[in-house]
């Protein structure tokens, strides 16, 4: 405890996705992991009605000094972890700035307006280009396909946590991850989550 340092204080992380993708769980795991390291963590979450097919966001403030508001001010996010690519763009619109970093899953989940034909979902190439233009550094990974290989798309959230760890922007290591998973999910679920974490990390070059 106390040895890890932050690139910036507070470090502002947003985890975003669509209700049902395991957004909240990913933020809890990360929050607990970083709290174990002695950081002061505040997490603001939207869920409830937002769960039903809506956009979901967790705002995480990581600080060595103080607790911060559960809502990150506009233009002040340092890193976005997006479980769904359009959600990355949506978050950039409000919280982005030229120095922001992004890890995004490439598997789309169509909003109901796209399914009905009222709206268009952009092509993945267009979406990637747009996100790259609006940020300093981006990583695109197909976490959902990898998660399907592991047995269920829900593991995509933990793959994104593994990917985030590998980028090195935050002091997240495999051992601390294992400790948190063991404590919060139990022995039985730990191996598969560790596997997901590793697979996510491998996807970052």
């Amino acid at each position: 405890m106390g040895t890890a340092t932050l690139l910036k204080d507070p470090y502002n992380l947003i985890i975003t996705g669509v209700g049902g993708q395991g957004n909240v769980l990913a933020s809890r795991v990360l929050g607990n992991l970083l709290a174990d390291k002695g950081f002061s963590i505040t997490i603001g979450e939207t869920f409830g009605a937002s769960q039903r097919g809506g956009s979901v966001m967790s705002h995480m403030r990581i600080s060595a000094e103080a607790s911060w508001s559960p809502q990150i001010p506009q233009g002040k996010a340092d890193m976005i972890v997006a479980l769904e690519p359009v959600e990355a763009l949506r978050v950039l619109h409000t919280y982005g700035h030229p120095g922001i970093k992004i890890i995004s899953n490439t598997r789309s989940i169509y909003p109901v307006g796209v399914i009905s034909g009222d709206q268009k979902y952009p092509s993945m190439d267009e979406l990637k280009k747009t996100i790259e233009e609006l940020s300093e550094k981006t990583w695109f990974i197909d976490a959902t396909s990898a998660a399907m290989e592991l047995g269920h798309p829900i593991f995509g959230n933990i793959m994104m946590v593994g990917a985030l760890a590998k980028t090195g922007v935050l002091p997240i290591d495999r051992d601390s991850f294992e400790k948190v998973i063991l404590r919060t999910m139990g022995k039985e679920k730990t191996p598969v989550n560790l596997k997901a974490f590793d697979m996510g990390a491998e996807m970052i070059n």
Binding site: V18, G20, R28, G31, N32, A35, S40, I41, T42, I43, G44, E45, T46, F47, G48, A49, S50, R52, G53, G54, S55, S67, W68, S69, P70, Q71, P73, Q74, G75, K76, V86, E87, L89, R90, L92, H93, G96, H97, P98, I109, Y110, P111, V112, G113, V114, I115, S116, G117, Q119, K120, Y121, P122, E126, T130, E133, L134, M148, H152, P153, I154
Partner: protein, 644 residues
């Protein structure tokens, strides 16, 4: 083993606000906790229920909020510490009982915990419980962060015992559903005994019967209690000040807005100019403390959610104090500096603060913002709320909507609160035409059903969830039957309180603590009331529509129970009943007369229209395998195979 109960004194935990509140109650030695599920309050009772086996604690999901308050009050009357928990609307339901309770007074510490939802993130109103504190004439506590959520909750019980009356402890979504660091205190190992004493003198508050009469006398006592609370508030450690001795602006705030205000001062780089007075005790206001701070400056900014509750109370107080502190200029909601509706955030507070300071607050680089706005506009399609893949409500409303359209008499549906509220949107085929409080669909329908004598001859339908049926649907149904109103009540029975996370209710064979419980059978109840009752499975739309058609033709009160378990229920989650596929040879695509019925109208998130091949496809990541879409395709191109 849960940290909530096992966590030792001095240990630091990352707790959700609702967990902090639950832990505070445990540290206060709470014995009885009752509530009705409602976002953002539900996790308080859930967390307490989870640890109830480890200690002598009784926890229940009551039938509705009024009963939750009554159950908690009984414990208080017997000398135990108790709490009742609900979302903001719940206080409306409980208020009739509470208005009597605050006159009769309490014995064991009793705390009312409403969780408000500024911005209505998961509500259909942003009403506030704070106004009830004034109406009920009881002390109001509002924690400003996660640590306080725990510490103040513990203190709330002590305060209630000190004044022998109910105390309101109000949280908001951004505290209840946010998480932060909490240092734990001790959970006392006591063994409180319950005993209801009533043989004393009629006016003896501890030994006599507990009644609200004589009213004027008891009302006087109640006012004395409030004054006593106010005196305690003057020295409360939950009211804090940070800032210069004579600030240019005194920012007075409370609750979740405290966190925004603190950050806004930082964003404006105004630590030397702005003083932050954070109040944890917001009604009645601590007059002497306020006087002390009003003397230090002339400009006051009040930051709170949602309506100007504290602002107005402060202004009354400032007017009384004016001879001693001088005339003040107030900024806040009434002056237009802070929005009067919706939730706040650090940017809104920073904008207000900067405006008063004569600065500008520009959070983002304008060039970047313009580019990002354009890109988001063109490339980020909006994500409207919809029923989950595999949700039985989509299937139910499909049948209700189609039958009413075929019936062709301009029939309509009255709705109320639950996931099924979303049926006023296109994802529920815009079927709901009225939408109000819990149980209101059937009450409103009961009224419409009596308008025949004035010429109304449209079929009247109501929808009501299974938990809502017990909460407040039953009296409405009784009313319709007794008054021979012509309505068809559809009970959307998904076997749990779906919207808030699948809590138990009286129709289920299990209670909040996981004990076996007698399940009350909804069809039997409705038949006993005198209604014609039918049951169907909405995933079989042909049969469902046949029955619904028949009931619509019949006079009197008919109940159709559409029964199918919620797709998110623990039994169903992640298990597909069917593997779905689209036969590309059979799907006629754009040449079919259906005009993309499955995606354009049915709109299940598990379906996609493939723009290249021009046929429907199944999104395997999303599809829940309910099988319903196989029944709606006119060509029979969507097929289902039982999952292995």
């Amino acid at each position: 083993m849960s940290q909530l109960y096992e966590g030792k004194k001095g240990e630091k935990c990352l707790f959700m606000g609702n967990q902090a509140i639950a832990r505070g109650a445990l540290e206060a030695g709470v014995s009885v906790a009752a509530g009705y599920p409602g976002t953002p309050s539900s996790e308080i009772i859930e967390n307490l229920a989870e640890v109830s086996k480890e200690t002598n604690l009784y926890v229940e999901w009551s039938t509705n909020e009024k009963i939750a308050a009554e159950v908690a009050a009984a414990a208080s009357f017997a000398g135990l510490r108790s709490m009742c928990v609900m979302k903001q609307n719940g206080v409306n339901v409980a208020s009739d009982f509470l208005l009597h309770l605050v006159l009769s007074g309490t014995r064991g510490g009793m705390v009312l915990v409403p969780c408000d939802d500024p911005g209505a993130l998961s509500s259909i109103n942003e009403g506030e419980a704070r106004h009830f504190a004034k109406l009920l004439e009881i002390p109001l506590l509002e924690p400003g962060d996660f640590q306080e959520a725990k510490d103040m909750m513990k203190w709330a019980f002590e305060l209630s015992e000190e004044i022998r009356n109910l105390v309101m402890f109000r949280s908001v979504t951004r505290l209840s559903h946010a998480s932060g660091s909490v240092e734990l205190g001790e959970i006392p190992q006591t063994d409180p005994k319950a005993q209801f004493n009533y043989n004393g003198f009629i006016l003896d508050p501890m030994e006599g019967p507990i009644v609200s009469a004589p009213v004027a006398y008891k009302h006087g006592l109640q006012q004395d209690k409030l004054k006593k609370a106010q005196e305690l508030f003057e020295v409360s450690p939950f009211n804090t000040y940070v800032g210069p001795e004579n600030p240019e602006i005194l920012l007075i705030t409370s609750s979740g807005a405290t966190l925004y205000s603190r950050e806004a001062i930082q964003l404006c780089n105004a630590k030397d100019k702005v003083g932050l007075l954070k109040l944890g005790t917001t009604f009645p206001l601590p007059a002497k403390l306020i006087e002390k701070h009003l003397k230090t400056t002339d400009k006051i900014l009040v930051v709170e959610e949602v309506l100007p509750f504290m602002e107005e109370n402060l202004k009354v107080l400032a007017q009384e104090l004016a001879p001693r502190v001088g005339q003040k200029t107030f900024f806040g909601k009434r002056s237009g500096n802070i929005p009067i509706t919706g939730e706040l955030n650090p940017d809104l507070v920073a904008t207000a603060l900067a405006g008063i300071l004569g600065q500008t607050y520009a959070p983002q680089n304008p060039e970047y913002t313009t580019k990002a706005t354009q890109q988001a506009f063109f490339n980020a399609p909006t994500r409207d709320l919809t029923f989950c893949p595999g949700c039985p409500h989509r299937a139910s409303f499909w049948s209700i909507h189609n039958v009413l359209a075929e019936d062709n008499r301009e029939g309509f549906v009255c709705g109320d609160i639950g996931c099924y509220s979303m049926a006023f949107l296109p994802s529920g085929f815009s079927t709901l035409k009225t939408l109000h409080a819990m149980g209101s669909g059937t009450g409103v329908a009961s009224g419409f059903g009596k308008l025949g004598q004035f010429g109304l001859n449209q079929p009247v339908v109501s929808v009501c969830g299974d938990s809502t049926f017990f909460h407040s649907g039953m009296p409405a149904l009784v009313n319709a039957i007794h008054h021979k109103s012509d309505i068809t009540m559809v009970i959307l029975d998904n076997s749990g309180t779906g919207m808030t996370g699948f809590q138990s209710h009286p129709g289920l064979a299990v209670d909040a603590q996981g004990n076996e419980a007698p399940a009350l059978d909804i069809p039997t109840i409705c038949r006993a009331f005198g209604a014609t009752v039918e049951i169907c499975d909405p995933f079989y739309p042909f049969k469902t529509q046949q029955i619904f058609h028949r009931l619509l033709e019949m006079p009197g009160v008919k109940v159709l129970i559409m029964r199918q378990i919620c797709a998110l229920s623990p039994e169903k989650k992640r298990k597909k009943a069917f593997e779905m596929s689209v036969d590309k040879e059979i799907c006629l695509g754009e040449n079919c007369g259906c005009n993309k019925l499955c995606t354009r109208v049915f709109r299940c998130p598990g379906l996609r229209w493939d723009d290249e091949t021009k046929v429907a496809t199944i999104d395997e990541v999303i599809c829940a395998g309910c099988g319903m879409c196989a029944a709606i395709c006119p060509s029979g191109a969507i097929t289902r195979k039982e999952a292995a």
